[in-house]
């Protein structure tokens, strides 16, 4: 099964459970339905699906207006960069709404352009920036299990949040991992436990971390693998305890922000742990950001494995 098919199935199941739910966005029930993300959605009789005009700013305000009147809604958006037009609402309107502790749910779910073939739009692989601008809860989806847990807990739930999915993974085979544990907020997921190295993946970088884990495993080097799927303040205790044990840390963050989610973590882990080895992999700014290109993180796995020896 493809990544997008799995997420579509989870959305379908969830929205069918809910009454009086508004699903809205551009072409969400027409054409390709956001390349399959919102395909064949079935809803309860008193719910609504609408294809909206192209007015992203106002659509954000409309979601908050629905929320003020106690109506749950999901705004599906083809690409994260469209949300730039709605930032006023993400900050100013959300600040008002959260004072009221609303019982209704408003979720904006969008595709993060984390591959570079769209040129300038691809420079906005900055999910964390959208969340940090007003401390908005936000969750990224990378695989079968985090998709299940995040959509189940957060897609329709009191309050407001952003959910980002990966364009790079969109039509890839779904990553299916066994979960060791996740925290209550579904912000940290642990997939493997090992004594040799701790690998922590941020944003949408789990596939890179998984590849490193597998290559290390082939060399009889057992790692712990974590994915941090959110940027709002997180308690790092479980990961820090793991790092204290392994004393070797690899951090991977494929976001293009200058305020990386992983920086908070690195700050805390350096304060609390004595590390023997540390590898931090981030996006480096280059002119490539500004024209179409694969935009993959360039990781020399052999070099990293040598450094971790």
């Amino acid at each position: 099964m493809k990544y997008v098919q799995h997420i579509n199935k989870l959305i379908s199941d969830k929205v069918l459970e809910k009454e009086q739910l508004v699903l809205f966005g551009q072409n969400i029930s027409a054409g390709s339905c956001i390349s399959g993300l919102t395909k064949n959605l079935k809803i309860q009789k008193n719910s609504i699906i609408i294809n909206t005009p192209n007015c992203e700013n106002s659509l954000c305000g409309i979601g908050f207006g629905l929320m003020l009147n106690g109506v749950d809604s999901i705004f599906f958006m083809k690409q994260q960069d469209f949300l730039l037009l709605g930032i006023d609402h993400l900050v100013n309107t959300y600040n008002f709404i959260r004072l009221k502790n609303p019982s209704a749910s408003f979720t904006i779910m969008f595709v993060v352009v984390d591959m570079g073939y769209q040129g300038l739009q691809s420079s906005l692989n900055n999910f964390g920036d959208f969340c940090s601008i007003a401390r908005i809860p936000g969750f990224t989806i990378t695989n079968k299990v985090d998709a299940e847990q995040i959509i189940s807990k957060h897609l329709v739930s009191p309050g407001f949040r952003l959910i980002g999915i990966s364009q790079r993974l969109f039509n890839e085979e779904l990553i299916d991992l066994s979960l060791i544990k996740s925290n209550e907020d579904k912000t940290i997921f642990q997939y493997f436990e090992g004594n040799d190295t701790t690998i922590v993946c941020f944003n949408l970088s789990l596939p890179y971390g998984l590849e490193l884990y597998q290559k290390l495993k082939e060399k009889k080097h057992n790692s712990s693998l974590f994915s941090v799927n959110a940027v709002t303040p997180i308690k790092w205790n479980d990961i820090i305890e793991n790092v204290k044990k392994t004393k070797k840390l690899v951090v991977i963050d494929d976001s293009k922000s200058e305020n990386l989610s992983c920086d908070n973590f690195i700050n805390d882990v350096l304060n609390e742990c004595k590390l023997e080895k540390k590898v931090i992999i981030k996006k480096l700014f280059s002119e490539n950001w500004l024209w179409p290109n694969p935009d993959k993180l360039e990781i020399n796995y052999d070099e990293i494995m040598n450094r971790l020896k």
Binding site: C55, G61, F64, L66, N69, G70, V71, D88, T93
Partner: protein, 307 residues
Amino acid sequence: MNSTKNEIAEQILRLRFNQMIINEKYKNKEFVIPIHLALGHEAIAVCVDIIMEDCDQLVLSHRNIHYNLAREKNLKCEIDEFLLKKEGLAKGQLGSMNLTNEKKGIMYASSILGNNLSVAAGLAFGKKVKKESGVVIVVTGDGAIEEGSFYESLLFAKSNNLPLIMIVENNDWSLATRIEERRCIINLKNFVGSLGISYELLKGNDIYSYIKKLESLRGYALSNNTPVCIEVNLTTLGSWCQIVEGYPNGKFINYHAGPAPKINIEGGPIIENSENDPIFVLKTFFGDEQFKKMSNKVLNDIKDEIK
């Protein structure tokens, strides 16, 4: 319309005096938050209060004092809010520009130009989903209609058959620039007409005719499930002339926010002897003596309330 002619007159006088009292306190530097007085906007605010039914909702902008006072009818809790006291209308948490009052149907207020329009459309959409009756009234201005959200929100409301009443308070000014200084003329009738939305112009500050027209438009919006746009020509009173070099007659300062230094409550409720002032227009419906008697009664009542 259940209110009598005199009750309406007292309500509009009350709103004027309420603002004048706040202005006096503002001049005495009692407030640390920015407040946008709306002297001269009283007719439309009282009109909205009178035509609103319990099922209706109101969405405001940063200049919302007139609607909040008209709806709540309690000056003390508004002053306490501006003083950021716990006894304030919103427990001192919202101050002025975002002040709301859910019990009176005021659901949202925003200090960001044009921000409130789409939230109002969302509220109206929520009513439709929940099959609730009533209209959503949203107040904006001639500055905010320059924002794209004005067009977007009308487009959404019309496309989804939402009874949304959009009131455009046109005072000609956006902070320190007149319309002619910052943009071309927008023919609102033609503009909203291009989306199939009805338009009405209110001018002259005759509260009694405003009420009849707004009641009729509310009924039209509800029975046709459609947005309507109402432009209200008005003057924000409180301008003054600053003595500066190069301006022999003083430099004109348009009132935008803060205290209005030249307005004094001792001078009575009328600020300008022209139809720019709704209180001046109101007086024409009553004899001098009756108007004076009514004014004194309203002012004394308010003073008793806030002792």
